[in-house]
């Protein structure tokens, strides 16, 4: 009970690049006029915070509100490459090829972007 929790095992670089990023089913995407993608996703609050909001008489429904995230042109093209079949490495290769980027540069920017999406729970890794 009081045993210290073991930290989750870290993925190696090779393992991380072989993972397949999958879009979350709760994410709604729409395209805005400029061609960029707008993502809408529910932001679930902590249960205690949702209860507090309800007690305070807020209009927010069950503590869920819809958050929006507008991707820029590069983010949009990475998002479009996520088809649930391509691995992170394949996404990086296609992205580097599309914009004639240095492989290392593409790897850094795509993995950073995917990390951001993961932190917001917009994608998962399989």
């Amino acid at each position: 009970m009081f045993r210290k929790k073991q930290p989750p095992e870290k993925l190696t670089r090779t393992q991380a690049l072989a993972c397949i990023p999958v879009k979350g089913g709760h994410v709604q995407e729409s395209r805005i006029e400029s061609g960029e993608i707008l993502l809408a996703y529910p932001d679930y609050k902590q249960p205690w915070l949702a209860r507090l909001i309800r007690r305070l008489g807020s209009n927010e429904n069950d503590g869920i509100r819809i958050k929006k995230l507008q991707l820029d042109a590069l983010g949009t093209s990475v998002w479009e490459l996520l088809d649930g079949r391509r691995s992170v490495q394949q996404v990086i290769d296609l992205f580097a090829q599309k914009y004639s980027l240095h492989p290392k540069e593409a790897e850094v920017s795509v993995s950073q972007f995917l990390r951001e999406l993961g932190l917001r729970e917009l994608i998962g890794l399989r």
């Binding site: 670089r13 914009y99 492989p103 540069e105 593409a106 920017s109 950073q112």
Partner: protein, 298 residues
């Protein structure tokens, strides 16, 4: 270029040294006199170099490095006789070999000393990595150079390549995704080389002039740019107002003026490059032109 085992090679050059390395070896750490190359996040090669005052002795140098490494990195170094083909590859350098053992890696290395420019270089190969084979090490040593005779220094890392006059010393460098910057300084000037990418995104909905104004705010009195050679290259010159007071003010000013800026779009590489000069007076046009022409993407 291709090495003996058919690995494509590319040139890496930094602060006076240059050599050929497999094209998938990329710099993981860059210092003023330090390079570490990796492949797939595994270290492969470390190079350190510097000027030596007085006489050079391989044994003494190794002892110094050894004591430093034992203390800080837990590495142990011991003498190693360079194989005959390694010795041959080092050419006119005074060369010695060493073996090293660290907590996670081990390897072999060579110290090279050039009596002409008095530069000593330490090259360490990470031997446990299967990507380092003998043919690559030999190709690298055979291509290694640490000086030129024309007072020009080559800088080549990732996909940029630039020839810079030797009197301009590296001050700052930055390699982040989409933005590379090398800043050089001398007594009178600061020269900044910048590379942006991908240009197709950065120039969507605006032209090169609009992009330049967004990244390099100009004074309101800035003259319009001129096109150089083609419509893809723009140049701004910022002449200072003439007169005794302006001249005096110029001399005591702490912040130097932006003097020249040339920006061009490399369409085939999908990059934007720029050379920016700051100082109390402009760079001579021939020097500025030579720097711009020597800066490109590979």
């Amino acid at each position: 270029m291709v090495s003996s085992n058919q690995t494509p090679l590319k040139e890496i050059a930094w602060n006076g040294i240059r050599f050929l390395a497999p094209e998938d070896w990329v710099p993981a750490q860059i210092g003023n006199h330090y390079l570490m190359l990796e492949h797939a996040s595994a270290p492969l090669l470390e190079i350190k170099w510097g000027q030596i005052k007085g006489s050079f002795s391989h044994a003494r140098h190794l002892r110094q490095i050894s004591s430093r490494h034992n203390k800080s990195l837990g590495k142990t170094l011991r003498n190693w006789t360079l194989p005959a083909d390694w010795q041959k590859s080092t050419g006119s350098f005074q060369a010695g070999g060493f073996q090293w053992q660290g907590p996670h890696f081990s390897g072999v290395g060579a110290t090279l000393y050039c009596p002409v420019c008095r530069t000593a270089t330490l090259i360490q190969f990470y031997q446990k990595n299967p990507d380092v084979d003998d043919a690559i090490a030999l190709a690298l040593l055979a291509s290694f150079q640490d000086h030129r005779n024309d007072d020009q220094i080559l800088w080549a890392a990732f996909d940029i390549k630039a020839w810079i006059p030797a009197y301009l010393k590296l001050w700052q460098h930055r390699f982040s995704a989409g933005y590379f910057e090398l800043k050089f300084t001398s007594k009178a000037h600061t020269v900044t080389l910048t590379r942006w990418g991908p240009a197709s995104i950065l120039l969507s909905g605006r032209d090169l002039k609009g992009f330049a104004e967004s990244v390099a705010p100009f004074p309101s009195s800035a003259p319009p740019p001129v096109f150089v050679e083609n419509l893809k290259t723009m140049e701004w010159r910022f002449p200072q107002t003439a007169g005794r007071w302006s001249h005096l003010l110029n001399r005591i000013r702490i912040q130097p003026f932006l003097q020249q800026l040339r920006m061009w779009h490399l369409e085939e590489k999908n990059r934007i490059l720029a050379v920016r000069v700051e100082g109390r007076r402009p760079l001579p046009p021939t020097v500025f032109d030579k720097i711009c022409k020597g800066f490109g993407c590979v």
